[in-house]
């Protein structure tokens, strides 16, 4: 079976000289849920952001759905429509209502008809449990609600891959569950997901594979059972002893 994401020996050196990714290679199959954990500053966000080219890479190769991201013929804006992203800080558009946030890209990027887009957006907000918050502006929503709108917004372009960068880290504890529930539903529907998170419970329950990054290197990639119950790598053991 063909991999939906192929990252080959990816290196990222920031202009300030920081070597944030060192020969990171990851293959993801369609429908797989990958959870990436690791200490702060280990390059998790950087890696995730290379997968939709919010960061360019210094060397290596990335293929999404068989398309080489850095080929001359690749239209990055087209490719990004296939890769949804959810940010730690939500990044909702504050001048648009919840519905407006979800509708913007289908209207302006896909140029689809308004009535159709509106119906789809309403269905998406319904799906993330916010049918009654359509006309709210982001500033009038709780953190958990905002993050669910952000997920609906990313889904509106019907991506095949969803990237989550610490989606619950900015939330009050009582709101973490509602966002994780939406993500679990997505995983059940067969969405390919790459999730950076500190929620070990989510990793154990939902992940097909868990990866451990440290100092820009991908050190361990294993099933959740092996990863949490029988870690062989000493650096991972040390990390787990701190977070569990």
């Amino acid at each position: 079976m063909k991999n939906i994401i192929r990252a080959e020996k990816v290196n990222k050196i920031y202009p300030n000289g920081c070597h944030a990714l060192k020969d990171v290679s990851v293959n993801v199959d369609k429908g797989e849920v990958i959870v990436i954990v690791g200490p702060s500053g280990s390059g998790k966000s950087t890696f995730l952001r290379t997968l939709n080219q919010l960061e360019t890479i210094s060397s290596g190769a990335i293929e999404i759905d068989g398309i080489d991201m850095y080929a001359r013929s690749t239209d990055i804006n087209k490719l990004r429509q296939d890769v949804g992203m959810v940010f730690q800080g939500f990044n909702l558009f504050p001048h648009k209502t919840a519905l407006g946030n979800v509708m913007l890209a289908p209207l302006k990027v896909a140029n689809r008809p308004h009535s159709e887009v509106k119906k789809d957006a309403e269905n998406l907000l319904n799906k993330v449990g916010l049918a009654d918050r359509q006309t709210n502006y982001p500033n009038h929503l709780s953190g958990g609600q905002q993050q669910r709108v952000a997920i609906a917004r990313a889904l509106a372009m019907t991506p095949n891959i969803m990237l989550f960068d610490e989606p619950t880290s900015a939330l009050d504890p009582e709101m973490v569950g509602e966002v994780l529930d939406v993500m679990k539903d997505l995983a059940k529907e067969g969405m390919t997901m790459v999730v950076v998170t500190h929620e070990m419970g989510f990793a154990k329950e939902v992940a097909d594979r868990v990866m451990f990054m440290e100092d820009g290197e991908l050190i361990v990639s294993d099933t959740p059972e092996n990863f949490f119950d029988a870690p062989s790598n000493p650096r991972l053991q040390k990390f787990l002893s701190k977070v569990l």
């Binding site: 990004r80 949804g84 001048h95 648009k96 890209a105 502006y137 500033n139």
Partner: protein
């Protein structure tokens, strides 16, 4: 209660200071034996004057078939119908020569000051639109990663902001205006828009840079290209942020427009100067001109505040 008394006291002081300033102006007028004659200004704003209808060519007044007086020229064609005028100066059978007064009508007409207001509003409105568009482009160039665009915009901004508007008006009118054969009004609009656009560009730049980086990232991650992300995500937010400084800049624009009177555009200021020499009421005229500018600037300020309020629904 304590607080109420205190605020009442200071509000009283405020009114008192204003009243004494008014008195001071009045007293200074008295000191130089100035006779305040506000009614002299009125005809220069608007008049209900008689104006006469003159004969365009030689002819004769005859009674037409519908029992109304008309002016016929020598070949017998009707050239002026007089039925509509109430006060006629001619009778049937009169011989008329070109330029004779046939009738007079009373109507409200704008005086030179109102004409000046209209010119000022026109020149400011055109300049505002061009300054906004030009300033937006220069501002976008300023934050561009392309060195050529960026440096060009910096040179433009520094050049314009570093030289006086009056000098720019002369350069545009006498140099560029001569080369391109521009009208006065066009030259005025160009200098004002160029001058204001440099400030608008800086306002636009700081407005865009005040929008968190995550907004652009979110827009791009949805597949929007850079122009679309700017247009639908960044600029609408930046616009809201920049409204207060833009309002200040556009109020300056209205006031700066008074400088175009140096190239003989009869705006409100030039109208004021002309009226002063005819009316023998310089103080009244200049106070009136000042009040009219104040009405224009506060009108704009009010409109922008209303817009701000409308945009604040998402706060």
């Amino acid at each position: 209660m304590q607080l109420n008394l205190k605020s009442l006291f200071w509000n009283g002081i405020f009114v008192l200071v204003l009243l004494s300033i008014c008195w001071l102006i009045y007293a200074s007028g008295k000191r130089i034996d100035y006779n305040w004659n506000w009614e002299r200004v009125v005809p220069y704003i608007a008049t209900n004057a008689e104006s006469s209808i003159n004969a365009p060519e030689d002819g004769e007044i005859v009674l037409a078939a519908n029992n109304q007086l008309v002016l016929e020229n020598l070949s017998g064609d009707v050239i002026v119908e007089l039925g509509n005028y109430s006060s006629l100066n001619v009778y049937e059978g009169d011989l008329i020569f070109e330029g004779d007064t046939l009738a007079s009508i009373e109507e409200w007409r704008m005086g030179p000051i109102l004409h000046g207001v209209i010119t000022t509003v026109k020149i400011s409105a055109w300049s505002l639109v061009f300054a906004l568009v030009l300033g937006l482009f220069i501002g976008l160039m300023r934050i561009s990663s392309n060195p050529a665009l960026k440096k060009l915009s910096i040179v433009y901004i520094e050049l314009i902001r570093g030289t006086p508007l009056l000098v720019q008006i002369f350069i545009v009118y006498f140099f560029i205006g001569t080369v391109l054969d521009l009208e006065r009004f066009t030259a005025g609009v160009i200098s004002l828009s160029v001058f204001t656009s440099a400030y608008v560009a800086e306002i636009v730049r700081s407005g865009i840079q005040s929008i968190p980086k995550g907004q652009m990232e979110a827009a791009r991650s949805l597949g929007m290209n850079y122009p679309k992300a700017m247009m639908y995500v960044i600029l609408p937010q930046a616009f809201k942020q920049t409204l207060p400084p833009l309002a200040g800049q556009f109020i300056n624009l209205i006031k700066d427009s008074s400088l175009v009177s140096v190239i003989s555009i009869t705006d409100l200021t030039k109208a004021g100067r002309e009226v002063v020499s005819g009316s023998f009421a310089p103080f009244e005229v200049w106070f009136t001109v000042a009040a009219l500018y104040l009405i224009l600037t506060s009108g704009l300020s009010w409109a922008i505040q209303a817009l701000e309020k409308k945009l604040s629904a998402s706060d």
